[in-house]
Amino acid sequence: MFKVKPLLTSLFVVAMVLGTLGGSVMAQEEITLTMTCRCVAGGVNNNLVVWLTTYVIPTFEEMMAEQGKNVTVELVEFGGSDEQLKEQYALDLGVGGGYDVFAFDGFWIPEFVEAGLLQPLNQIAGEAVDEWEGWEHIPPGIQAIMSYRGEVYGIPAGTDVREIFYRRDLFEQAGIEMPWQPTSWDELLDTARQLKDAGIEIPLQINAGTSMGEATTMQGYFMVLLGAGDHMYDFDEGKWIVSSPAILDALNFYYTVYVEEGLGDARMQLVEDGRNRSFEAFRDGRIAMLVEGDWFWRSVLVREMGVEDRNALVDWAMMPAREPGAGYRGQDFVTISGGTGWVLNPNTEHPQEAWELLAYMSSRDSQRAWELIQPRINFRDDVPVAGDPVMTAMAEALLPLTTVRPMLPEYAQISYEAQLMTERVVSGEMTPEEAMAAYAEAVTELVGEENVIVIPVE
């Protein structure tokens, strides 16, 4: 539907060309592919626009021309928020429209598939998908970002990991030895107490509350829950864990940090612009330890929330399990990854060419070009992070430990309930026990009694 305009334009162009050729035969069909992402030249995700418009699109068009195909790629920049983009996708796909190739957050996939809005890549573009060389260079854990129930719906664009960022100057002030790496929650909390005694205002900030949305679930709740040994979902049983000793441990950790000892600032977690407040406080040296994702390093710390000399002032450490070996899958340290990717539109008129574009973007050469513009953790194991040793170190240490969110259509609502549970604890409105009971009740209502597990707390 939204291809009407480009289609008309291309008809017009074709007519003009035909006219000038004096009616000579124009056998070549002109194909226009549309793609979109939350990216704007000079605005949000500017680097992505640069990469697409200066590298991917021109070289792809050239490659197609060599194969005798006349393909034009049109990038539709979207400057709004992620939520708005998601609504537009759902509306457009629902009426059989939409862009040919579009950026997509992995955890939206299940609900879109259940609604019949997306299809597996190989159903859209056929064998070419299965034969693609790239699959063997994308580790299964990362392919999972864009998969649902064993089918692959897209190619990842990259992934991320989460860790503790700390300020060396404040650690020095408190006399804490560096490099610093806690091996248990007790050590982490002891460091926080030491910082507090040294007069640091906010020793440790870890996300909680609904106003931060997925940032709470991913950088906050999951980081402690995994450290206490549980996931939100039991993948073997196929059920949601709604009440367990690990959930209670996680909530008690929040309780210690925010309510009992005031090691973190609960206000920041409960007000609307709290995340920005936390970035600002870290920049201004009021927060000593902040649990965040790697983009905090590569994107936030270099913009206006940046510090003078990032590499000298800021370091990072892995998030420890409650005690060594007590983490998820018996791990000593934990992290979790999310990620975005690109999907194909089931309604596309040019499935082959759309797939070729997607595959081309995700090729080794294209990704190397991308790394030169924006060093980040690549989804391909044959493309290293370019020129940022800190990012490389994070990727090497944490990717082997990582896990992902449950890819299920009800995840978004359950994630919200988890955020709410942490909000109730850090605001002091409920005790950890009460908050867990309220969470269990709400999740059970959402998915039904037969889909939840309760592990008794002794």
Partner: protein, 276 residues
């Protein structure tokens, strides 16, 4: 109330006026200082080195610039003209004919508009626009918003029209003037302040509108400023205050100018200056 004006009353009034002015002005201070500060925060502080660098960066974002200076003007201007014209016609027609339950009827329509312009309505609105071929067109946004603002505009306008004495029109009618002529030559000049109030009201609403454009528009060439605002956020979803404040400043100027212009030319007040 003005007959005995003691000095005490005069001082009291001045204090009251200053307090009210302060109440309205203080929250806006940030909008004046922040855009010119290259390291702005949420604090209101005079920049130590005032600079236009924030604006330079904003103007480098051609998407946001176009949104503000082209699309917003088309959307808000188009909606304003449509609403002002139709609301004037309608409220005049309603005022000069006998329609039982008129006020209740208008009010029920206002209620409908409050439902239809809410978040819950976005699926029907999208599908409606889709079937009319209006998705990703500024026309679609203008038409949908016009439908949403009309009832309230008619309701506001009604008071203006009702306050015009009808003796002129009756005289003109006796002289054989056509209804349209009466409307154009007699009614419109008399209700002009009302038209202006409705026009400004519609313009500022459409200028800040967010939900309907997000649902209906797709191409960056069509997006309004309320959506483009988010292009000054980080990947993590937090605002870059330097750029946000500069863009907010630019975003505010046109509505301010429109108000000042209308107020200066026509006077911005409700239901005219006709003394009865």
């Amino acid at each position: 109330m003005r007959v005995y004006e003691s000095p005490v009353a005069r001082i009291g009034l001045t204090v009251f006026a200053l307090a009210v002015a302060g109440f309205f002005a203080l929250p806006l201070l940030w909008l004046i200082t922040a855009p010119f500060n290259p390291r702005t925060t949420l604090a209101v502080e005079l920049p130590s080195e005032p600079s236009l660098s924030n604006f330079e960066t904003v103007f480098g974002n051609s998407f946001a610039v176009r949104a503000l200076f082209v699309n917003n003007l088309i959307i808000a201007g188009g909606t304003m003209v449509l609403v002002a014209v139709i609301a004037t016609l309608t409220s005049y027609g309603l005022s000069r004919t006998r329609i039982p339950g008129r006020d209740l009827l208008i009010y029920v329509l206002i209620l409908f508009s409050s439902v239809v312009s809410g978040t819950a309505a976005m699926v029907p609105i999208f599908l409606l626009a889709y079937n009319l071929g209006l998705v990703d067109t500024l026309t679609g946004v203008i038409l949908v918003m016009t439908g949403g603002y009309l009832p309230s505009a008619i309701f506001i306008m009604r008071d203006f029209v009702d306050s015009i004495p009808r003796s002129y029109e009756e005289a003109a009618l006796v002289c054989g003037a056509s209804p349209l002529r009466i409307f154009m030559d007699i009614a419109v000049p008399l209700v002009r302040p009302g038209v202006m109030v409705v026009a400004v009201w519609t313009f500022v609403n459409a200028w800040g509108a967010f939900l309907i454009p997000v649902v209906l528009l797709r191409s960056p060439e069509n997006m309004p400023a309320s959506v483009a605002f988010y292009s000054f956020y980080t990947e993590a979803g937090t605002p870059l205050l330097t750029l946000v404040s500069a863009y907010a400043f630019l975003y505010t100027i046109p509505v301010l100018l429109l108000y000042l212009l209308v107020n200066w030319k026509f006077g911005f007040r409700f239901f005219g200056g006709i003394k009865r």
